[in-house]
Symmetry: C2
Subunit: 189 residues, 2 copies
């Protein structure tokens, strides 16, 4: 159950087995079905998730009812609605399992206790933030000023799992193009 998580942590710093177990024991396994909402727009994020199996989407809905997908987390990655998790404000976004998934969930309290007490875990948190920041920047760069085809190519290169495992509609809402445009582009790739 904790293999992937242990692997993830161990690859970030050497840790003795008991310490590793102590960290893992703070994570609970939750099984969720396809399309299950883990966090709603008005809720406050109180968990950080590690994706053991499956996929989680972070998205929001605009005033006029349109879905906008921000991020897709697949196996071996952490995901939450970070602004809400940090500042304990309503998320204004959704977390949703888009496949039948197995997630390891840690509460915010436990999470920050680990960050304070376990240097390896503090390191991991910093890494999550660094990586998240860099990815977000790369995405801004990869998309800004480019046409639809370039954005699809960027995504194929930088998030190869995305276009394979995610519905057309969701992928389009990630790319910021219409589903029909994405469909047409895929046909001629």
């Amino acid at each position: 159950m904790y293999e992937a998580l242990k692997q993830f942590i161990s690859s970030r710093g050497v840790l003795e087995a008991p310490a590793l177990d102590a960290i893992c024991s703070r994570f609970d396994l939750v099984a969720v079905h396809r399309n299950e909402i883990l966090l709603s727009y008005d809720q406050i994020a109180n968990y950080y998730y590690f994706v053991n199996k499956g996929a989680v989407r972070v998205f929001t809905i605009t005033d006029d009812g349109q879905e906008i997908s921000r991020y897709f987390a697949f196996e071996d990655t952490f995901v939450t609605a970070l602004p809400s998790f940090i500042d304990q404000k309503p998320a204004e976004e959704y977390l949703q399992a888009i496949e039948k998934s197995e997630l390891l969930r840690i509460s915010r309290d436990d999470f920050y206790n680990l960050v304070a007490s376990e240097p390896v875990f503090a390191r991991i948190y910093t890494e999550i933030l660094e990586l998240g920041f860099i990815m977000a920047q790369k995405r801004i760069y990869g998309f800004q000023g480019y046409d639809a085809l370039s954005k699809v190519k960027w995504t194929l290169k930088n998030q190869p799992k995305l276009l394979v495992r995610v519905s057309n509609k969701m992928a389009a809402s990630f790319l910021g193009i219409s589903p029909s445009t994405l469909s047409r582009l895929k046909a001629k790739l």
Copy 2:
């Protein structure tokens, strides 16, 4: 010379005067002229900058010669080419003073030594990352799926200094619209 920086640090955690001075002494003052390039595309970022006065732009140039602005740092904010600073790879982006500016510069070595030795500074680094990540996300949300006018309004609300202090061309390249479109929109606001 260090007033703004001291203020910035002190607001993040109480620190005794000598410790605060020790931190500040690692920062050198650099005066730069308008349009001066602080870091070029192929260089590796070795400094973190705190903007005492003026403004710094982070931008890149696409294959076909088009500038894309990612971020504008004004007074009392930190700025660098973070992916390069972290991983010591070529920046693939530029840092540029867009006004005559006064910057406080700390070397990467000193920066990470402070992060390791001064808990307040580690806290500040975490905060920079959290804030950077959240801002980048907000921008992805604020722009994705919206038309040109909405993006201008979002920027007026979330980065009010930007449209005032930055040239039309640069602002347009931040918004991902053409300078003429921005000009037309401003005319009817």
